[in-house]
């Protein structure tokens, strides 16, 4: 197309160009030049039908009041009273500040989300980096060790949540072990998930537990690419292991950290199946997260599809901004290093 336009701007060639055979040739040439698009076409097609449509739909819906009865649709644009009404920004206002009950729960959930998004990625990175370095030092890792270490990644999901739930029970093995070790004062007599102060930390332990293995694999891959001569040179210059970690390993692993952070931040904000299945947001909303609120407005007791969509977009905006910050901090370093 670009070719056609530039030449047609030169008036004198225009007449020549637009003879049917010439046009056909140009088109064929353009098609051939862009034929690579055919490889991407199936992905684009699926996205257009099941991705883009739903994204636009949810954005439009966030400005409407609708409980799912009567008709709301994009093609043709319909919003049939009495079940559906244009609501403007009211959905956003409602859960952000106007409707006190809804807003209070939303901000509680947001607070929990932010705690999770700070603690889980940080803990994941710290633990996995140390393990990766230790494994790398150990040289060849025992295959069995590697397999066991990766188990948590393979089996996130309801089965493992059940296992953890039973471990956290008041009669469960965690309390039993603490008591046996003489640390009974640390135990949670009402169960770790049933106590207000320990429920969220207990969930975060499961999140870190399941996200560490992937991070270890990625960090080990990153460590393999670091030139060993850098460490040897640093040793000669009298650097200790702490210096090497801080000035060589950490900066050179930045691109890997970036990928791990994308994973971790996404799951911190998006994941709600874990609280849904383990605590249902309780006790007393101490493990409430935004995803769970959206689910409740979208499919649960609070059924207000417009509010569900509006909340979803606020969540998206937040994740988007945080990801951009992540990109600013960690990505430029990647290019510097590769130069």
């Amino acid at each position: 197309m670009a070719n056609l336009q530039t030449t047609s701007r030169l008036g004198q060639t225009k007449a020549n160009l637009l003879t049917p055979t010439r046009l056909g040739q140009t088109l064929r040439k353009q098609l051939k030049k862009n034929s690579g698009f055919l490889f991407v076409a199936p992905a684009v097609l699926i996205f257009l039908v099941f991705g883009l449509y739903t994204i636009i739909y949810s954005f439009v819906l966030s400005f409407f009041r609708w409980k799912g009865s009567s008709i709301f649709s994009l093609f043709p644009p319909t919003c049939e009273a009495p079940g559906c009404a244009f609501w403007g920004l009211q959905n956003y206002k409602d859960f952000l500040y106007e409707d006190k009950g809804v807003a209070k729960l939303f901000w509680m959930a947001m607070e929990n989300n932010l705690v999770v998004a700070l603690v889980v990625p940080a803990a994941t990175i710290l633990i996995s980096l140390l393990i990766a370095i230790a494994l790398n030092r150990a040289g060849r890792t025992i295959p069995l060790f590697r397999t066991i270490m990766m188990l948590p990644m393979v089996t996130s999901g309801i089965a493992v949540y059940f296992a953890w739930s039973s471990i956290y029970l008041s009669d469960g093995p965690l309390n039993a072990m603490l008591n046996a070790a003489g640390l009974g004062f640390l135990s949670a007599p009402h169960g770790w998930l049933g106590t207000a102060g320990t429920a969220l930390p207990a969930l975060m332990v499961v999140m870190v537990w399941s996200s560490v293995p992937l991070a270890v694999i990625l960090y080990m891959a990153g460590l393999q690419t670091i030139d060993q001569e850098l460490y040897e040179a640093a040793t000669i210059d009298g650097a200790n292991s702490w210096h090497m970690l801080w000035y060589i390993t950490w900066p050179l692993l930045r691109p890997v950290t970036f990928i791990i952070l994308i994973f971790a931040i996404n799951s911190a904000f998006q994941g709600f199946d874990l609280p849904l299945l383990m605590t249902k947001g309780g006790p007393a909303n101490h493990t409430q997260v935004v995803g769970l609120r959206i689910f409740s407005f979208g499919f649960g007791d609070d059924l207000q599809l417009g509010i569900a969509s509006a909340m979803g977009w606020v969540l998206f905006l937040l994740v988007f901004v945080i990801s951009l910050i992540n990109l600013r901090i960690f990505r430029p370093a990647a290019e510097e290093v590769s130069k």
Binding site: G36, F39, F47, A134, I148, A159, W209, G312
Partner: protein, 294 residues
């Protein structure tokens, strides 16, 4: 792959460094125990008597009850939910690998108008929370007749499979593109000069060499679709069509919690993933590594 890490043998180390090595070793060991403990607990609880699950916190049952596993599989029809899960997960894995290996190849090896923009756009989709599009997705599936009272099992599953393929898209594109990018371009150029079509280059040369990437994408999507709970729970409305996670949850809501039954069901749910992973982990790690250090 593995390079000799600062080859320091134990004799050359000072006392302080020996101490550090010991601490590192103990930390790794502790981590290993934490990694595997929930699984051991799951196995132990599945073999215990129900009352024993909550009274005996040891990993060794007083008496081994194999019959619980058999009972869950047969009497509670877990074999049926197992098949249901398989009917959903396998097409998702195959579809994802086909669609996004093509796309990954297109992004890595070919040229077309708007390629860079399209790639960045797909990567941007990673940050769109799935919960945002869940409401419209259900409405859309209903409009297509894939959900609802009249929808057949096949229609319902199609409605589960295609959006799941789309959902796994951005990561799959990222992994495949990174992997194809790390392969030499000369292969393609030489084959093209010899008259091989672009499609032929993809199907006969690059895809067979991309087994690590296929394993990584395949396993990632198998795990997520096998464990998926939220999306299937809003789409499937007939208990006979439930997947393993839904049935596990359903059991739980029906009656007083029987921990040993629950754990036996959980064990049946996690085993296939673990077995698949055991066979493919070498490739999985290679595919992931190529993407991470590109």
């Amino acid at each position: 792959m593995t390079r000799e890490p600062l080859s320091l043998s134990m004799e050359k180390l000072g006392l302080g460094q020996k101490l550090w090595a010991l601490i590192a070793f103990l930390c790794l060991l502790a981590y290993l125990v934490i990694s595997i403990y929930p699984f051991l607990w799951m196995i132990a609880s599945a073999l215990k008597d129900n009352s024993e699950v909550l009274t005996n916190s040891s990993l060794i049952p007083k008496q081994v009850h194999w019959e619980i596993l058999a009972d869950v599989w047969n009497r509670l029809d877990f074999w049926q939910y197992f098949l249901n899960s398989l009917m959903i997960s396998v097409p998702i894995v195959i579809g994802t690998v086909i669609v996004y290996s093509l796309a990954g190849y297109g992004f890595a090896m070919t040229k077309f108008w708007g390629k860079e923009f399209l790639y960045v756009f797909f990567m941007g989709l990673i940050v769109v929370p799935t919960i945002v599009v869940l409401v419209p997705l259900v409405q859309e599936l209903r409009a297509f007749g894939l959900i609802g009272r009249d929808a057949s099992k096949f229609a319902t599953y199609v409605g589960l499979i295609i959006p799941a393929i789309n959902g796994g898209g951005p990561w799959a594109i990222f992994l495949f593109r990174s992997y194809f990018d790390s392969m030499p371009r000369d292969l393609r150029d030489a084959a093209r000069i010899d008259g091989c079509s672009e499609w032929g280059v993809y199907a006969r040369i690059y895809l067979p060499l991309a087994i690590p990437a296929i394993a990584t994408v395949g396993i990632t999507n198998f795990i997520s679709s096998w464990n998926a709970y939220v999306f299937p729970s809003v789409v499937i409305n007939n208990p006979d069509w439930y997947t393993l996670p839904l049935q596990l949850r359903y059991l739980d809501m029906q009656s007083v919690v029987q921990w040993n039954v629950r754990m036996a069901g959980s064990l049946i749910t996690v085993l296939p993933v673990i077995i698949a992973f055991l066979f493919l982990q070498r490739y999985y790690i290679r595919g992931l590594t190529a993407a991470a250090v590109k």
